[in-house]
């Protein structure tokens, strides 16, 4: 009898479920229908403080959907014209470029675009970089001096480094870097380099932090990472607690690539003004300072103090490359896969 | 009370025809037994009547209402046909009262009606027991009460006593019989047990190869089977070649008295073993004892009798084992009473 009542009670449930969800979830999720909707491929911890400040300053409520940069881009493309998103804040230019190609981003005004070096924004003005990160080599000073660290990633295929180099091949930054090699040096050089790395028993990691840790523990002699992982760790634990050191590569080597996080405004938005204000806010002084202080990234507007010990952006001898050209990820992935670096 | 009328019923499974144009009439208020060997299709007949299976052809009428016919298939819940399945099949999640009251509408009278039925089957006071707390016989009686509760036009019982011990079976059978009569229900009992069929039913329908071979009151069925198949299926039978004349039938057991059939010529006679009387006589018809089987209340002596073209086996039923009969003895045989004659085709 007991079961019977229970199950009898369950039968009309589908309607109930839908009704219940429909009724409760706005309040549960705290979503305000009138809020500006931002799809953020960047982490909540790195974005939410800025958004809180933005709301406080402008009175514009913001509702943020956090996710993976690429996944959100795929979602926006799938949503098409009906996307709830007004702004897309992405971890890299490639995803923004993909949306631009679909014609889903609107052109930003020139006065905003002009605040940033043309190298760090879309040529057609559909998106703009908000912060920069440099590829660097992290090394274990117990095993080698800075001078012994190669000046170019192309030296890493030398037998001398057999089994001593760490990379994170599934990491978006590594993929962008390989794409840069393809764009700068050509497909054959890129393939040769990947094959050489594979033949040289390169050590594979899931992410940059694991490479950094491995270099600190002496498991590898050197590794390819983004600069801010090291600076964050130093800020957290002090320089003495971080045995590994960084080398910024000279002479426009692909291993010195500077990539950016960026923002675009959806063409489908009916809140152009608010969306634009948000984009402008990300390039304002407080947000840029936040990026420099908290994430140890490079601010992209002038006059913002850098993280301690970070060489100035214009002092980096990064390769001269149009970041929009880094959107041919598929070929890169295939090449990485064919080299067996998975 | 309603009568059951079945006409031309056909049903196949995967190309195998199980019912082949079956006709059956069960008068209102009577208890009919459908008797047949395993696999003859009698359970299928029951399931078609209950509405669990859809007939390929034919009609089923219950109390004048057509429940199945070409293009008509009244669902089981609208047929007012109660079913008592093998092994009871009580709802294990409901207590006895819940089972009996399952087919009753929710009303103030429900409890009273449940009590009434439990009393009818002799289980008053068992209402709050769960099925697994009952013996097999009690479960059967609850199943019957459950089937009778909504006052069905017809009750179908599918080998309901199969799972019971021999001792219990007779008692439960009688209880069920009297409960059915008290309720005045029209009932159809499906069984392969001829003793059950002959002892319980007002009407026995013998089923063979998807048809009713003969439907008749038990006595008539036994003494006047409509064909050799029925004759040999219902009761033990000694079948002998014979030639019918106006004075009787000439057979290896001598001249036999016939139920008058008016038919003359060559054919076969059916002799019941209890009609065969053994004696010490060395004249007349004699045979050699080939074996004895003792049943307690009676015994069967198998005798080989010489006949034109060889020997024929004959069984004789005796009150107790006749003293001094051993294998190899020569005994005299005599047939008492009339026998049934079937002319050669």
């Amino acid at each position: 009898m007991r079961h019977r009542r229970l199950l009898a009670a369950m039968l009309p449930v589908p309607a109930l479920v839908l009704a219940a969800c429909g009724g409760t979830d706005e309040t549960a999720a705290g979503v305000d229908e009138s809020a500006l909707v931002v799809y953020s491929g960047r982490q909540e911890a790195l974005v939410q403080p800025i958004i809180d400040d933005f709301t406080e300053e402008t009175g514009i409520e913001v509702s943020v959907r956090y996710g993976n940069t690429a996944q959100l881009a795929a979602q926006i493309i799938e949503e098409g014209d009906r996307t709830p998103a007004d702004v897309y804040f992405a971890q890299d230019g490639g995803a923004l470029g993909a949306l631009a190609k679909e014609g889903m981003l609107e052109e930003l005004p020139a006065n905003l675009l002009d605040t940033v070096d043309p190298r760090y924004r879309a040529e057609d003005g559909t998106w703009i970089g908000t912060s920069g990160r440099a590829r660097v080599i992290v090394y274990d000073p117990d095993q080698l001096t800075e001078d012994e660290v190669p000046d170019s990633v192309f030296e890493l295929t030398d037998p001398r480094w057999k089994g001593k180099v760490g990379v994170a091949p599934s990491n978006a930054s590594f993929e962008a870097f390989v794409t840069a090699i393809r764009v700068l040096e050509g497909e054959d050089v890129a393939r040769e380099w990947l094959d050489g790395m594979a033949a040289n028993d390169v050590q594979l990691f899931d992410n940059n932090v694991l490479i950094l840790n491995a270099a600190e523990d002496g498991i590898i002699a050197l590794g390819l990472i983004n600069h801010y992982y090291w600076y964050e760790q130093v800020a957290e634990e002090g320089l003495d607690a971080v045995p590994a050191r960084l080398k910024f590569l000279p002479d426009g080597d692909p291993g010195a690539l500077v990539n950016v996080a960026g923002v675009g405004v959806l063409a489908a938005t009916d809140r152009d003004d608010d969306a634009l204000r948000f984009a402008e806010y990300l390039l304002g002084e407080s947000a840029q300072t936040f990026f420099a202080d908290v994430t140890k990234e490079y601010p992209l507007i002038a006059g913002i103090p850098l993280a301690e010990g970070l060489p100035p952006l214009d002092s980096l001898q990064s390769p001269d490359i149009d970041l929009s050209d880094l959107d041919t990820l598929e070929e890169t992935l295939q090449m990485i896969e064919e080299a067996g670096l998975t | 009370m309603s009568e059951l009328v079945v006409r031309g019923l056909e049903k196949s499974f995967d190309g195998t025809q199980v019912l082949r144009g079956l006709d059956l009439d069960v008068p209102a208020g009577s208890l009919a037994a459908v008797l047949g060997p395993s696999g003859c299709g009698k359970t299928t007949l029951l399931r078609v009547v209950a509405g669990f299976e859809i007939a390929d052809a034919g009609t089923v009428t219950v109390g004048g209402a057509v429940v199945a016919a070409r293009g008509i298939h009244l669902p089981p819940e609208r047929r007012r046909v109660g079913v008592v399945p093998q092994e009871g099949a009580l709802f294990p999640h409901l207590d006895v009262a819940g089972n009996v009251g399952f087919g009753l509408p929710r009303s103030a009278h429900r409890a009273a009606r449940v009590g009434e039925l439990l009393e009818l089957v002799g289980l008053l006071g068992y209402g709050d027991r769960m099925p697994y707390e009952l013996s097999g016989g009690q479960q059967q009686r609850v199943a019957l009460a459950r089937a009778l509760a909504p006052d069905p036009a017809l009750v179908l019982l599918d080998e309901p006593f199969n799972a019971l011990d021999t001792g219990l079976r007779a008692a439960v059978r009688e209880d069920v019989c009297s409960a059915l009569r008290t309720a005045g229900a029209t009932a159809v009992l499906v069984t392969h047990d001829q003793e059950e069929a002959l002892s319980m039913a007002d009407l026995v329908a013998v089923m063979a190869a998807g048809r009713i071979a003969q439907a008749a009151p038990p006595g008539e069925l036994y003494t006047a089977p409509s064909d050799l198949g029925v004759a040999t299926f219902v009761g033990d039978a000694v079948v002998l070649d014979a030639v019918a004349t106006s004075a009787g039938a000439d057979s290896p057991l001598g001249k036999l008295e016939l139920y008058d059939s008016g038919v003359r010529g060559p054919g076969r006679v059916v002799v019941r073993p209890e009609q065969v009387v053994l004696s010490n006589a060395a004249n007349g018809v004699v045979g050699t004892v080939t074996g004895t089987v003792f049943y307690g209340h009676d015994a069967v002596v198998r005798v080989s009798v010489s006949a034109p073209g060889g020997h024929v086996p004959v069984a004789a039923r005796c009150q107790g084992l006749p003293p001094g009969v051993v294998i190899g003895d020569t005994v005299g045989l005599r047939v008492v009473g009339p026998v049934t004659f079937f002319p050669a085709a």
Binding site: L7, L18, E78, T332, L333 | -
Partner: protein, 532 residues
């Protein structure tokens, strides 16, 4: 009278044969709805793969990579399934039929790894052994997370199957091992097949573990393909291949299930289970096996999480966020479990009761979503949600619907198995007593199948709690679950910050798992009490 009484039971009676009646609409219509829902991702994949034209579609498939991925995916699925069968059946036998010290406790403990999300397990193993080879790591992690899918149904089957068969085998001169191989294994085959199917489908659709351990299979490539090309044509084409593989596996399982009916209509005599004494070395080996499996599958990830928790310190713990995430996790998962079960009931009842071609088609359709990576299912619902159900887009109902698409098979399997246990005759009797098909479902079928259906719901509930990719894409903006918070932290490699979410997720998921492990006895009692 001396007519020999035949012992042969009538064919076509209560047990087997001829249910040739058309299934009632009250079941067919909702089952079709469920199948339709489950087929949404497939429809989406077809639309998307043809987006780039047939040429591109064919070109994507006609690559050496496709074959390689197929082999890799199948290799992983087969390896994990075999390992799960060995571990699951052994543990099921040890915890039901053997005199293992603390058997009741072990029965619960060995089911608990079901509560550990594969991506959490993968993280802990990778953190401890950074150089673990991808294939070895994936097989290890997925086996340890999935063997309960085999263990639970097999243990239930062992508890309710007839030990008399084994005793007969022993009396006929078979040794203990030979009896186990020839009789016991044969008895548990249908249950093991269901479990193996769930494992294989899980492995094919799992993304978290293989992504973390860097083993390239379909899901990972589909994901990177979305990431790299954004247009999704290639990803959709690969998704279709995955669906084809799944269909083949589901079909094979259906064949192996064959005509063996799971319904046992006994005299209803409650049977006491007899356990087998193992001897001293046997007991040690049995205990050792249980300890090793539980240690690797449960103690190791929990230990790692505790270590990170302690390292992270309580100071950084955001209790409000943790509590909020826990509440939303439970809420959406419970809704997911309810909707999934409700959709599964008509499909499962049909599958148990009406073995017809179109019923089988409905059942197999319900498996469609299960083999697809969560991101494909999620994107398909984005596609349909935005176009045809905009009011519920990025609202809880659509997320709950995604859970239903993803986890329908587990619930259907549970419903089918538990309905099949009670004789169909009971439903026919109920019909003859005046109940309509719908009310028979409500008053007889479901109450009898209740415990099994509830177990299925519990399984879905805990799987929903662990689900990540669909939750990420379809959750209402601003809603965070334990899984999404965990993902957010691990995305920045903040293991210490992730640890509280992971720990709470495992603990919460352990509750329904505990019930699943614990409940087995009561289910058996229900079954034995019935069928009288």
């Amino acid at each position: 009278m001396a007519v020999p009484r035949t012992l042969v039971r009538m064919p076509g009676a209560a047990a087997g044969g001829g249910r040739r009646q058309r299934p009632p609409l009250v079941l067919v219509v909702p089952a079709l709805v469920a199948a339709g829902v489950a087929l949404l991702p497939l429809a989406y994949l077809v639309v998307r793969s043809l987006d780039g034209g047939l040429g591109e579609f064919v070109e994507t498939l006609w690559r050496e990579r496709t074959l390689r991925l197929t082999l890799r995916s199948l290799g992983l699925a087969v390896s994990v399934t075999i390992a799960c069968l060995v571990i699951g059946i052994t543990l099921a036998w040890l915890t039901t039929r053997a005199k293992l010290p603390g058997r009741a406790g072990w029965a619960v403990v060995v089911a608990l790894p079901l509560a550990v999300p594969s991506y959490v397990a993968a993280y802990t193993w990778l953190a401890a052994f950074p150089t673990i080879p991808p294939f070895v790591g994936s097989v290890l992690v997925l086996t340890l997370c999935c063997y309960p899918y085999v263990l639970l149904p097999v243990a239930a089957m062992l508890l309710r199957s007839d030990p008399a068969l084994e005793e007969v085998a022993r009396s006929l001169g078979r040794g203990r091992m030979a009896t186990f191989l020839s009789v016991t294994l044969r008895q548990v085959r249908p249950a093991a097949a269901v479990g193996a199917l769930l494992v294989a489908l899980y492995v094919l659709s799992d993304f978290g573990a293989v992504a973390i351990l860097r083993f390239d299979v379909f899901t990972r490539v589909i994901y990177t393909s979305y990431r790299s090309s954004f247009d999704g044509t290639a990803a959709a084409a690969l998704g279709l291949v995955l669906v084809a593989i799944t269909s083949a596996i589901v079909w094979a399982e259906g064949r192996s299930r064959g005509r063996a009916s799971q319904a046992r209509i006994g005299s209803g005599a409650p049977r006491r289970l007899r356990t087998v004494a193992l001897g001293r070395s046997g007991t040690a080996a049995g205990l050792g096996f249980a300890i090793v499996v539980a240690g690797l599958a449960l103690a190791f990830p929990l230990g790692s999480l505790t270590y990170w928790l302690v390292q992270g310190g309580a100071a950084e713990l955001d209790l409000a966020a943790l509590g909020g995430a826990a509440v939303s996790t439970i809420a959406v998962s419970a809704l997911g479990a309810v909707l999934t079960t409700v959709l599964a009931i008509p499909v499962g009842v049909l599958a148990a009761r009406y073995r017809m071609r179109h019923v089988r088609a409905i059942e197999q359709a319900s498996y469609a979503g299960h083999a697809l990576p969560g991101i494909v299912v999620a994107l398909s619902l984005v596609f349909f949600g935005v176009r045809y159900a905009y009011p519920i887009y990025q609202r809880t109902p659509l997320l709950v619907l995604a859970y239903a698409v993803l986890f329908l098979p587990a619930a259907v399997g549970a419903v089918r198995a538990s309905v099949a246990q009670s004789p169909p005759m009971l439903e026919e009797i109920a019909r003859s007593l005046g109940r309509s098909p719908g009310r028979v479902l409500r008053d007889v079928t479901l109450p009898l199948a209740g415990p099994g259906v509830a177990a299925g719901a519990a399984l879905v509930f805990l799987t929903c709690m662990k689900e990540l990719p669909a939750t990420l894409l379809l959750r209402p903006t601003g809603l965070e679950t334990l899984a999404t918070e965990l993902w957010a932290e691990t995305e920045v490699a903040a293991y210490a910050a992730a640890a509280p979410y992971a720990t709470l997720l495992v603990l919460l998921a352990a509750l329904p798992t505990f019930l699943l492990g614990h409940r087995r006895r009561s289910v058996t009692l229900d079954v034995h009490g019935g069928g009288a």
